[in-house]
């Protein structure tokens, strides 16, 4: 199941020209507001007809400007989760959830009502009406409703943007479970790096209506050239880790390809695969192995690249086992330590600098 998009459409002051192939998992469409993310999703959904181009899913044509093909909205079978939920107010949660099922082809397969309720924690809400739900609950129902229409793909347009951070944290684990336990691919629009870091398998970075970068989440997020789009305070790489053990002093020990990480207790099971986002501003680079340091995590690494901007800072990209890390240090330090590609260093990460929200599954 893969989505292939290649479209051109006038968009404000410039022309949107976007081409990418979304593999399985969650493909994030990432970019600042006004870069054309929603236009792309709407074109895929059929809410907008691009001026030119072609959109196919698993080889089936959804849109082809040259051949004059544009499958109507209701025949595309793409579950759209809107930012504002859009639950049907005159129906109960159960009726909302089962609404799309009757239109799905008989032979289509996918999770059933029980499974979806389990996955999204909806059992207690079934007989309620949308008016009596909180924002987070509404969004969970909207996701379940889209999933139960047995879509070929889920489209999500900033599904968490209207929620406060506590509600976001409530929904993110559900989206992770969706990614890890169903085989429905997702196109996920977001301008939030932390969401992308938690969820995305691949990332399409949009800038002024063009694809600025496309690759796996690990590669895109650890790319020093992406720091400008992401912003220096938000920039950071994603490490893959396995939960090794919980310690009695409240720390969890995770093994990463380059060594061990000690983080505040995660609540995950031993053996669980996790992804940990390490912000570039929280990483210290040391030439020799430091001694007598309060920081618990010291990972050996090799410098891959250095990128300076106009300011006093430099972004250091490092290879750490199979993972990559970013560190933001001053140009003065980089010069003093004579950092350059190929130099072996140690990356120092304070345990407490990693927030619980930066640790996800997958």
């Amino acid at each position: 199941m893969s989505l292939s998009v290649d479209i051109t459409h006038p968009f404000g002051a410039f022309t949107l020209r976007v081409a990418f192939e979304a593999p399985g998992g969650i493909t994030a469409l990432f970019g600042r507001s006004g870069t054309g993310k929603t236009t792309v999703v709407n074109a895929v959904a059929g809410l907008l007809r691009p001026k030119a181009g072609r959109i196919t899913i698993s080889g089936e044509v959804l849109f082809d400007a040259n051949k004059g093909i544009s499958l109507p909205l209701y025949q595309r079978r793409l579950g759209y989760v809107f930012q504002d939920g859009r639950l049907f107010p005159h129906m109960s949660v159960r009726q909302n959830l089962t609404y799309g099922g009757r239109f799905a082809p008989k032979q289509s397969t996918g999770p059933g009502l029980d499974e979806v309720c389990d996955l999204l924690g909806l059992d207690a809400l079934l007989e309620r009406r949308p008016g009596a739900l909180s924002g987070g609950e509404k969004q969970r129902v909207a996701i379940g409703r889209a999933l139960l229409s047995r879509p070929r793909m889920l489209l999500m347009d900033e599904p968490l943007a209207a929620l406060d951070s506590a509600r976001k944290e409530e929904i993110l684990p559900f989206l992770e479970r969706l990614r890890d336990h169903t085989d429905v691919p997702m196109l996920y629009v977001s301008h939030s790096v932390s969401e992308v870091a938690r969820l995305a398998t691949s990332v399409v970075v949009l800038e002024d209506g063009k694809v600025a970068r496309f690759g796996t989440a690990e590669r895109v997020l650890s790319d020093p050239d992406m720091v400008r789009q992401i912003g220096v305070r938000e920039a950071g790489a994603v490490l893959h880790a396995t939960l090794a053990r919980h310690h009695e002093d409240g720390l969890s020990e995770l093994s990463v390809s380059g060594g061990r990480l000690f983080l505040p207790h995660t609540g995950m099971a031993i053996g669980a695969t996790t992804r940990v986002r390490v912000l570039a501003k929280d990483v210290i680079v040391a030439r020799g192995k430091p001694d007598g340091l309060s920081a618990l995590n010291i990972l050996p690494a090799e410098i891959l690249a250095l990128r300076g901007g106009t300011g006093p800072g430099v972004i250091v990209q490092m290879q750490c086992g199979k993972d990559r890390l970013l560190a933001r240090i001053t140009r003065r330090s980089a010069d003093a330590l004579a950092l350059e590609p190929g130099v072996r260093v140690h990356a120092v990460i304070k345990s407490v600098s990693i927030a619980r929200t930066d640790i996800g599954t997958g």
Binding site: A45, G46, L47, P72, L73, Y74, Q75, R76, R77, L78, G79, Y80, F82, D84, R86, L87, F88, P89, H90, Y99, G100, F103, A104, R129, P130, G131, A132, R145, A146, S149
Partner: protein
């Protein structure tokens, strides 16, 4: 119970109820269609349609009645055709009273339903389409239930207007006791004959009673429907 109204008065009340009920039932589906077109459609001649629908509200009822007589009379363009093809005669029959009442009530009905449709968020209909619902399904399962409050208001307004219709009716179908004499026509007749005030007054009482009952019922139904539509 029948002894406090004379036979002619009963006939008028029964006929008016029958005429108004039919007028409401027949014009309701068409009213929804026209209201939908006016609220959501973008087509040439939308303003013309809008004007045409509202015309009976502004024209003197007697003019509407006379125009009906010209087109739907036995020698009228449509009236002649109806009689030839279906054997249906409207002029000077109770069926004609239904037509006159329906046309006079139509603008009020369309206005109420249109307001109801305009209050429905098109985004909800869009969401239903992304879930696989075709246009007809969207209308039946989303739009129609959501405009129910407007539909009820429109139907009651239409019914009340039909109950009170006088000018167009009396011009088109005259005022024949037992056949085309509706409640307002009967009140008018009783007021023309000496000693008819008592009968007229009783009919006025009935009229007020029916109007109040209809309003209360609609208020109750609309409130219940509105609560449902609000998602509570």
């Amino acid at each position: 119970m029948s002894d406090w109204l004379g036979p002619q008065e009963w006939q008028a009340v029964a006929l008016s109820l029958k005429v108004s009920l039919w007028a409401t039932l027949i014009s309701l589906p068409l009213g929804v269609l026209v209201a939908y077109a006016l609220a959501r459609g973008s087509f040439r001649g939308k303003q013309v349609l809008n004007g045409l629908v509202h015309l009976p509200l502004i024209l003197p009822p007697v003019v509407t009645g006379y125009l009906l007589l010209l087109t739907f009379g036995r020698r009228g363009l449509i009236g002649g055709w109806l009689e030839e093809t279906f054997g249906l005669v409207l002029a000077f029959r109770w069926t004609g009273a239904v037509l006159a009442a329906a046309i006079m009530a139509f603008p009020l009905m369309v206005r109420a339903i249109r307001l109801g449709i305009e209050a429905v968020d098109p985004k909800l209909e869009q969401a239903a389409a992304t879930l696989g619902a075709s246009r007809l399904w969207v209308f039946a399962t989303i739009t129609l239930p959501l405009i129910l409050p407007g539909l009820i208001t429109g139907a009651v307004l239409g019914f009340a207007k039909a109950m009170g219709e006088f000018g167009a009716t009396i011009t088109f179908v005259s005022n024949i006791p037992g056949q085309t004499q509706t409640l307002p026509s009967a009140v008018y007749t009783f007021l023309q004959v000496p000693g008819g005030e008592a009968s007229a007054l009783r009919l006025v009482g009935v009229s007020v009673g029916i109007a109040m009952a209809a309003l209360l019922a609609s208020e109750l139904l609309a409130r219940r429907a509105a609560k449902r539509v609000a998602g509570q």
